[in-house]
Symmetry: C2
Subunit: 466 residues, 2 copies
Amino acid sequence: MKLQVDRHAASPIAQQLEESIRHWIQENGAGGRRLPSIRRLAAELDISRNAVIDAYERLVAIGLVRSRPGSGFFIADGAAVTPQPSLASTPLQEVTNGLWGLFSANEHSLKLGCGWLPNAWRESEDLTHAIRQVARKSQSGIFEYSTPQGLQELRSLIQERLRPLAISASAEQIVMTSGGSHSLDLLVRMLLEPGDVVFVESPGYYNLFGLLHLQRVRVIGIPRLADGPDINRLEALLAEYRPRLFYVNSVFHNPTGSTLTPAIAHRVLQLAEQYDFTIVEDDIYADFQHTPTTRLAALDGLKRVIYLSSFSKTLTSSLRVGFIAAPPSLVQRLVDIKMLTSISSSRFAEQVLITLLQNGSYRKLTERLRARLSNQMALALTQLKQVGWVVFTEPAGGMFVWAKSPVEKEALMESARRFDIMLSPSHLFFPDNQTTPWLRLNIAYLQDPRAKAFIAANSDQGNTPK
Amino acid sequence: MKLQVDRHAASPIAQQLEESIRHWIQENGAGGRRLPSIRRLAAELDISRNAVIDAYERLVAIGLVRSRPGSGFFIADGAAVTPQPSLASTPLQEVTNGLWGLFSANEHSLKLGCGWLPNAWRESEDLTHAIRQVARKSQSGIFEYSTPQGLQELRSLIQERLRPLAISASAEQIVMTSGGSHSLDLLVRMLLEPGDVVFVESPGYYNLFGLLHLQRVRVIGIPRLADGPDINRLEALLAEYRPRLFYVNSVFHNPTGSTLTPAIAHRVLQLAEQYDFTIVEDDIYADFQHTPTTRLAALDGLKRVIYLSSFSKTLTSSLRVGFIAAPPSLVQRLVDIKMLTSISSSRFAEQVLITLLQNGSYRKLTERLRARLSNQMALALTQLKQVGWVVFTEPAGGMFVWAKSPVEKEALMESARRFDIMLSPSHLFFPDNQTTPWLRLNIAYLQDPRAKAFIAANSDQGNTPK
C-alpha cells in the first residue's frame, strides 16, 4: 500500500491522506484488509498521528473503512464498488448539516424533531419584566463586561438551586457560561488533547460529537439503556481503552428520555475511580424534573464529576446563560480559557436571571412547565401505544420520547414530508452514524393536529397516506 | 542530555518534559548550548512535536531557554543559577493573570490602563430604550436562538456600515459573533493547527497571544511602528518562516494608538500574496474613527483578508456583539464551528443592535464619542508633553496613547500604587514578554485629578511623590 502526502500542498495532510487511501481502495479493493496502525503510518509518512486519526475517521464516516475496537482499522467490504459521497461529508459537517436543517426549516413546518419548546409555550411576562427592570436600574448591567467567572450573586443563587439535587458546590466552584454548548466547549478545550479517547452515550447528544471531532479526539459510544449507560459494555471497553472522560446526560436523556438510576450512577463512579477518568454530567433538563433523582455529581461530591446545566431549555434560548460546577482545582483554568476565548459572558443576561431567580418567577415558571410536560408526556405515551408505536422507555418527564413506528423508516420520512413535519436526523444521535429505526419525538409538539395525523397515518394498521 | 517522560503518569507529557529539561539544566548548566530540534526530540521520546513545542515554550516563558528564530532553542546564559519562578508562569497564565488584574481591580482605583471607556461616558438612554422596545415587541427576540449565522437584517445593516470603509462584503459574508474575542477564537480554531506559525504585531493585543498559546501555535512578533507593521522585519522573517496568518490591528492600534498607512497596507498585502498567508484584520476601534483610512480588507476585497469588528468598545461590553466579514469560501465552516461551540449568539442582543442601527442612535452615539475622544486626545498629548513624557506616536483618535515617562519604570509603578491607579501590565503586550518602559494610557481617564497628579508627579522635573 503506497501512500503519499505533500506537506507543502494547499490541502490539509489529513485530507490528502484520506484521498490517497480512497484512491488506493478504489483501485485495489481488498475489503477486510487491515490498514496500517496509526503509529506506523504516522512514522512512515512522517506526519502526526492526529492527521492519520483524522483521515481514518473521515473514511469511517463515509463507509469505506470500519473501525474494530482494539484491533484497528479495516477496509470495509464492498468499499471499492460503493459510490462515495462527496468530501463534504466529514463527521463534523454531518452534524452541522443536521443543525442547519433544524434552524433553517420552513417556519410553518411542525418541528416535531427539535430540541426546544414551542414558542406558544413561552411566557413572556416575567422575562419582559425582568429585562425592563435591569435596563432601567442597572447601568453596569447594560454596559459592562461581567466578571470572568460570572456575577457572584448569580453563582450564589445557583449554589442554592443545586442543594435540592444534593450537589454541594460553593459559589467559587461555579463558572457562568453562554449556554450548554459553550460549557461543553470550554470543558473539551480544557480537558482534551487531540488523539485522546472520549466515551459518549450512544445514542447521545450529536452536537457534542461534532465538537469532539473538531477537537480531534476519538469518540467511542457506550450504549445508553433505559437506566443509564450500559455498564457491561462500559466495563468491556474500559479494558481496551483509557478514556480521558465520559460524557453522561443523566436526566431526561437526549434523545431517549431515560433517567440514570442510583445503582448505575454508583457503578459508573466506581469504574471512573478504577480506570481514572473524568465524568462530564450534562444536566440541562434538570429543571424539567419534579422530584430530584440521583446525580453523579451528588454521589461524587464534584471530585471526578464536572456538572453542567443551563437556562436555555426552560427560560430562554436567546439570552445564552449556562453554568459549570467543577472541582475546585479546575476552576481557575476553566475561567482562564473562558477569558481568552470570550472575555466574559453577558452581564445583562446574568442580571436578568438574578432578577428572576430572586423574585421567584423562575421557580413558578418551571413548576408550570413540569406540570404541562407531565400532562403532554402521558398523552404522548397513550397516543403512541394506541397506534402500535414502540417506545424505548417511558420517560418520567422532560421533552423527549425515543420511539419507533411500525412503518418502515423510508415510508415514514416520506410521510413526514407530506405532513410538513420536520423530524431530527436520527443517525446523528449515534457517534458512528448508524442507521436506526428510532426517532426522537418532542412531546410538546405531539398534540398538534399535524403530528396526530402523522402518527396515526403511520400506525400498525398499515400506512394510510392521505 | 538524557530526558525521560512517562506517558502513564498523571501529569501532561509537556509538563514532564519541561521539568526534565529544567532539572538537567540546573544540574549541568551549559548556557548557550543548543537544545535538540523539536522533530528530533519528539522522535527520540516518541511524543508529539506539540508536546515538545509546549515544553520549550514554557521554558522560554520562565527564562531558562531562548528561542533564536530560524536556528532553534538554546539554554539561556545563567539559566542554571537563576532562581526559577513557579510553574504557574506559563505564557497562557501570564496573560490571564493580567486580565484578572484588570477585572478584579479595586472598584475605586482609577483604571488608567484599561481597554474600555469609563462608565461615566456611557449613555444609557438610547440603549435602555432599545432594550425595552425589543422586550416589549419581540417574542422571538427574548426567547429563541438566533440563526446560526446571525440575523439577516443585522448582517445587512453591517454590510451598509462597511461601505464607507470601502469594504464590499455581502450580508452572506458576514457572521455574527459574541464579541471580538469570540471572533478571534473562531478564526483561530478554523485556521490554525498546533505547531503552525502565526505572526502578530509586537506590541499587540495580549489576549490574542494567550489564545494562540492555547491553540499551541508558534507566535512570532513583527514590530509595530507608527505607520503599521515593520515591513523590513516582516520580509526578513518571511524568508525564515511560513506563517499561516498574520494578525493586524489596523486603526488606533492596541496599545500604540497608531494607524496603518495605505503604503504599508499595500506592501503587507503584496507580501501576503507572495508568501501565501492569510491576514486577520482586527478593526474593533473602527467606529472611533471620523474619516476612514485605508483598510486591508478594502484593498484586498476580502480574498486573503478576514475582517472583524465589534460593538463592545462603543455601545456595550455587556451584550456581547461582534462580527466577522470573511471570504465567501470560509463562511460555511466558520458558522459550523460557531454552531458546534455555542449553537448561536444572543438573538436578543442582535435585535437590540438592529434597533439602534435602524433608528440612527448608534450613528449619533459614535459621533459624540469621536468628538469627545478627539478632545481628550488633544488634552492628553499636551499634558504628557508638558511634563516630558514621550509618546510613541501621536494618535489621530481612539482611546490609547503609548507613552514613556522620564521616570524609571519601578518608581513609576510604585507611584501608581500610591495614587491608586491601575496600569496595564506592559510586558504582556509583547509576545516574548519583554520588559518595556512604555505604558498604554487610556486617554478617557487622563483628565481625572488622580491621573493628572500621577503624570505630573512622574515628570522630567524629577519624581516628586507626595
